[in-house]
C-alpha cells in the first residue's frame, strides 16, 4: 500500500466528530462549522475535516497530519455543557468493543494509529459534557453556548 509522502512542513487539521441529527452529539461538527466561518483568524494551511459518525476512518485521516485538534461531545462526569481540553493520555475510555463495527471508539483509532507509527505528534481533544443526545436536529441551549466558547478557545490555541 502507498504510504503518505514524506512531509517537510507541519500538516495540521481540525477534526469534528459527531452526528448533528442526535442533539448534543453534533457539538463537534457545530464547532467545526463555526471555525470554518472564522478561517481568517486561523492559519491558512489548516485542513477542516468533518468525520461525522465514520470514526473508524479516523486512522486514515490521522496518517496525513502532524498536529490535530479533535472535537467531540463526551460523557466525562462533568457539569452539564462543561468544556474540557485534554490529551489522549489523560483519560481512560469506558467503551468496550461490543459486537460490531458500529461501536467504534475514537481511542481505538488512536491506538491503532500509534501502533502503525502514524499517530500525529500533537493531539489535542476538546470535549463538551452532553446533556441530551436524542434524535433531534438541534443541541441544548447550554451546549450550543459551549460550542461558541470552544470555537473561541481553538482560535486562541493557534
Amino acid at each position: 500500500m502507498p504510504l503518505p509522502p514524506f512531509i517537510f512542513y507541519m500538516k495540521q487539521a481540525i477534526i469534528g466528530i459527531g452526528n448533528p441529527l442526535m442533539g448534543d452529539d453534533g457539538a463537534g461538527i457545530a464547532v467545526l462549522n463555526l471555525l470554518k466561518q472564522r478561517k481568517s483568524e486561523l492559519p491558512e494551511d489548516i485542513d477542516y475535516v468533518e468525520m461525522g459518525t465514520g470514526g473508524i476512518n479516523l486512522v486514515h485521516v490521522l496518517a496525513d497530519y502532524d498536529k490535530v485538534v479533535l472535537i467531540d461531545a463526551a460523557k466525562f462526569g462533568g457539569q452539564p455543557a462543561e468544556i474540557r481540553k485534554f490529551r489522549p493520555d489523560e483519560v481512560h475510555t469506558l467503551k468496550t468493543q461490543g459486537y460490531s463495527l458500529h461501536d467504534w471508539d475514537l481511542f481505538t483509532s488512536l491506538d491503532i494509529s500509534k501502533k502503525m507509527g502514524e499517530l500525529p505528534d500533537d493531539i489535542i481533544i476538546f470535549s463538551v459534557q452532553i446533556i441530551d443526545a436524542s434524535p433531534v436536529d438541534h443541541m441544548t441551549p447550554q451546549v450550543e453556548k459551549a460550542v461558541v466558547e470552544m470555537a473561541g478557545m481553538i482560535v486562541d490555541l493557534f
Partner: protein, 432 residues
Amino acid sequence: MGEININVEHLTRVEGHGNIVLNAKDGTVEFVQWQVSEAPRFFESFVRGRPYNELSHITSRICGICSIGHSLASLKATEAAMGIQITEQTQILRRLAIHAENLQSHVLHVGYLVAPDLLGAPSVVPLASSHTDAVLKIVGLHRLANEFSNLVCGRTVHPVSLIVGGFSHIPSEKQLKEIRQKWVDAIPDVVAVAEIVLSLAHKLPNFTRETEFIALTADDEYAIYDGDIGSTDGGRWPVAEYLDITNEFVVPHSTAKYTKHKRESYMVGALARFNLNYDKMGPLAKEWAGKFGLQPVNHNPFMNNVAQLVEIVHSIEDTLAQIDKLLEMGVNVNERPKYEVKAGRGVGAVDVPRGILFHDYTYDDKGVCVKANCIIPTNQNHNNINLDFQAIAPTLLNLPEKEIELTLEMLVRAYDPCISCSTHYLDVQWKR
C-alpha cells in the same frame, strides 16, 4: 453441575445495544435469549414530506458503514416509483460503488473483529503489536477501499455523487485504470490475510442449524446490486413483493422487528449470498471457498465470516471485470441523468454487506415522499440469531462460563450486526 448465569450487556451507547442472557441449571438451559433494545430512529418519518432528490442523502445517514448501500436502495426505490431508466454506464458504476462498500466493510469486519476473536485478543489493538504485518495489510486494504469509494461516490462515507438517475460526477478513464491497477497490486495482501484466517479457521465453532437463506439472485451475475429475491428453500420473487418475504412481527424482548418467511426465521448476509449465488462467483473466490471447505448450502452461521472473506476476493475480481467493461465501452464523464418527476410507489433492493436491504417509497405528483418503509438486514437476522442461541446453548454447558460467553458473542459478531451507530460521543474517565 451448578448454575450458569450469563448476562452480557454492551452498553457502549445509550441508543442501542444487544444483550446476551443465558441461565442454566444442572446441565439444562432454563432461559437463553438474544435481546435487542434499540431506540427507534424514525428515518421513515424523517423522509415524509421531503423531495425525492433528498431521500438518498437522508437515508444514507441510517448507517456509517452501509451508507452506500442505503443510498443505492433509496435511489432504486425512487427510480422504480417514477419509472426512471438508468444507463449501462450508471449500472456499472453503481456496481463498483457497492463493491467499494463491500470491500470497506468486510475488510474491517474480518480484520478488526473476527481476527481478534480467532487469535484470542480482546480487540485489534494488541494485534497491531503481535501481528503488525497483518494489521498493516488490513489497514492498507481498508485505505484502498476508501480511496475506491471516494473515486466512485465522491466520499468514503455518505456518498454525494450518487444521485437519482445516475451520477453527478464520473471518474475518468485514467482514474479508473489507476484504481484497477491498485486492486491488482493488492491481491497478494488479500491472499496473505486469507492465509492467516485459513490457519485459524479450525477455531470457528462447528455448529450447524438448518435455516432458510434469503438474498438477491440473478441469472447472469453474483447478485449484489440487482436481482430478484431468492431463497435456499426454493423460489424467486420480484423485489416489489418483499413484504411477502419479510413478514415483520414484534416480540416482547426486542425493540427491533423480527422477520420470518418459510421457516421460523431466515438469515441474510454474505453466507446467504454465497449459498444462493456461488455458481456466479469469480474463479479466485471459488478457489478460496474451496480452501476453507465452504460449499453451498452451508448452515453454519460462523462461516459467514469466511463467506465475507471469499466475497472480498470476488468483489476485487468483479471490480476488475466491471472496470474493463467500462473502459471497453468508453467512459462518458459528461453523462447526466434525464427524467421526469412523477407520482408513484417503488421498491429498491440491494444486497449490502450485512444482507438484503429494502427501501419502499410512495411519492405524490410533485415528487414529495408521502410514505416510506425501510427493512434493514440486521433486523432480518435477529430472529435467526435468537434461534441459533437456543440450538447452541445446550451444547456449550460443559465449558467454563467465560468460554460460553465468548462463543455466544462470537456467534453474534459472525452476523456482523448493525446496531445503532447514530451517536459517537466519547465516554471517558479521568486518570487520577
